[in-house]
């Protein structure tokens, strides 16, 4: 690996791949992800049945070294399960430094991992890259937000955990008047309702132009529970078409941030 990094389309290194690994596991509900290295950061995206699109975004400042050639697109499909397993090769108790190399289109993604506490061990991984599938454009650029909420991630996780498992539909009711934020679930035999008052510390900020009632598959929302568990803050945005966007922020000890994003398509009224 002594070659000059400029002949690689993408190189990056970080002191510990642990946070990255847990972020990737949080969106690992599909076998493969689209790996996209942008000049400002690394993004991995997965889709579930054209209804949910989840991405992990790691801004470049999380890496000690980050380099993408500006004359090429670095985008390919990769096995997310294998990538997460490789990052965890020394076990979850071990912090291991990580280097990534990607030479050119069609070449494998190379990882070099070295644990911080044992210097005499090293792991090389070559993960094959594939041609990426086209991703859904769920939100058109001219679409605007009609409601925006900032919620503590732990609180939203608790709410989703409390919701009856057998329910399949989750309804979000947002209105400028109290009660501002209500979550209703419909199950086989029951209907449950959770009201979150604006003054609670769960809700850090709330803005909503008009009254909204939006329905989602509960299963789709539950996909972001793993990400909620490792994040600090979540921003919920509802667009005029009812598309729900959850933006989750994971704050690391060193004041660096990583993000995950979930786009969830609404259920239409029948």
């Amino acid at each position: 690996m002594a070659e000059d990094s400029s002949q690689y389309h993408f190189t990056a290194s970080m002191d510990s791949g642990k946070t990255l690994c847990s972020l990737l596991k949080a969106i690992q509900f599909q076998e493969s992800a689209v790996f996209c290295a942008l000049p400002e950061g690394l993004k991995l995206t997965v889709e579930e049945g054209k209804c949910v699109q989840a991405s992990a975004y790691i801004p470049a400042d999380n890496f000690t070294e980050y380099h993408v050639r500006d004359d090429v697109d670095v985008i390919f499909k990769i096995s997310l399960a294998v990538l997460a397993e490789c990052l965890n090769i020394f076990g979850s108790g071990e912090e291991a430094s990580l280097k990534m190399y990607y030479k050119c289109e069609g070449s494998p993604l190379l990882l070099v991992l070295q644990p911080q506490s044992f210097r005499n061990v090293m792991t090389d991984c070559e993960i094959w890259s594939q041609t990426p599938d086209s991703m859904l454009e769920l939100r058109s650029p001219e679409e605007t937000d009609v409601a925006k909420l900032v919620v503590r991630a732990g609180a939203l996780l608790a709410v989703l955990g409390d919701v009856e498992r057998s329910a399949d539909v989750l309804e979000l009711r947002l209105q400028p008047e109290p009660p501002h934020f209500t979550i209703v679930t419909y199950g086989m035999q029951d209907r449950s309702c959770i009201e979150v008052p604006e003054c609670s510390d769960t809700l850090q900020s709330f803005s909503c132009e008009r009254e909204l009632t939006l329905k989602y598959q509960l299963h789709h929302l539950r996909l972001c529970m793993k990400a909620l568990a490792i994040s600090n803050k979540v921003v919920l945005r509802c667009s005029s078409t009812g598309l729900l966007l959850l933006q989750l922020k994971l704050e690391r000890d060193d004041n660096k941030h990583m993000f995950s994003e979930f786009y969830i398509v609404p259920l239409l009224d029948d």
């Binding site: 990769i78 096995s79 294998v82 397993e85 490789c86 965890n88 090769i89 020394f90 076990g91 071990e94 494998p108 044992f118 005499n120 061990v121 090293m122 792991t123 090389d124 991984c125 070559e126 993960i127 094959w128």
Partner: protein
């Protein structure tokens, strides 16, 4: 036929119990061979039936027992071989926390049994309580003894000291989720390399600066399967492909506090893990190579 042995000290009892519980994790059934100077635990591969053992553990009796009496089958067959369920034996040791003494003997109850009499001090008085475990055993007729003789293995091409077993096991466990077979490579230069080829990836973990106890090179690596990495001479690399699950299973032995653990490889045929404790207990696992 007669066997009676007593352990009086809590530290050998504890060590003996660790060994037994480790063996019970590796296999349901085992054979206990009682000889004049040694106890042996022998495990054969459960799938292939009576075949050369895959696990061979020898325990010098004098280190553990303060009394040891053995009368074999007859003049020419002085040992006793007992087939038993290793889980039963391991469970009998679970109740032991603070043991005063442990007596082990061969008894005839409804069926032949290995009887453990355990003496436990009472917390409230000076009296002791006694716990008795009868473990049914099958006495192996001497005709079948050769099935449990120490496996004759070819001389290894290399013997290399293993890194921390715990660390090794974590890595193997991760690799096991991606591939069923793992290539174990050791070089005369002191590197141990574990490598897998999965559908979507190739992963290799290398441990450096390990002691090489013995190297019998050069090795013939002329076939195309060997892709030598780095600048190491391929004739100095001994390799063998093994079942990842078996390797992971045998690495469970990390509970036994060991003095040395060695990995010996017969090129493309056999990987032997051998660990030796301070008390000269020796445990060897034989993992045969997979050849296409």
């Amino acid at each position: 036929m007669k066997f009676r042995a007593v352990m009086n000290n809590s530290s050998p009892i504890r060590e003996f119990s660790t060994i037994v519980s480790t063996i019970s994790k590796l296999s349901k059934e085992c054979v206990l061979r009682i000889a004049d100077d040694m106890l042996y635990f022998i495990v054969s591969d459960e799938n292939t039936g009576p075949a050369p053992p895959v696990l061979w553990c020898e325990i010098p009796q004098s280190v553990f027992f303060s009394e040891y009496q053995l009368v074999g089958m007859d003049e020419t067959h002085q040992d006793i071989y007992l087939g038993l369920n290793s889980g039963n034996l391991a469970r009998s040791f679970v109740s032991l926390k603070n043991v005063k003494s442990l007596k082990m003997k061969l008894t005839k109850k409804q069926c032949p049994c290995l009887t453990l009499e355990i003496e436990v001090p009472s917390t409230t008085s000076h009296q002791t309580r006694q716990i008795v475990h009868d473990i049914p055993v099958a006495v192996v007729p001497w005709k079948n003894w050769p099935d449990f003789y120490e496996p004759r293995v070819p001389d290894p091409d290399i013997s290399i000291e293993l890194p921390s077993l715990k660390q090794l096991r974590t890595t193997i466990d991760r690799m096991r989720t991606m591939a069923s077979e793992v290539m174990v490579r050791a070089s005369a230069g002191g590197q141990l390399i574990l490598q897998i080829r999965a559908d979507m990836a190739k992963v290799s973990t290398r441990f450096k600066d390990l002691n090489v106890a013995h190297f019998d090179g050069p090795v013939d690596n002329s076939d195309p399967e060997t892709d030598s990495q780095g600048n190491e001479d391929s004739s100095e690399i001994v390799q063998c492909r093994v079942d990842a699950k078996k390797l992971a299973l045998f690495l469970n032995v990390d509970h036994i506090s060991t003095n040395t653990t060695l990995c010996s490889i017969v090129h493309k045929r056999l990987v032997t893990l051998c660990l030796q404790t301070d008390d000269n207990v020796k445990l060897q696992c034989f993992i045969s190579g997979i050849v296409y």
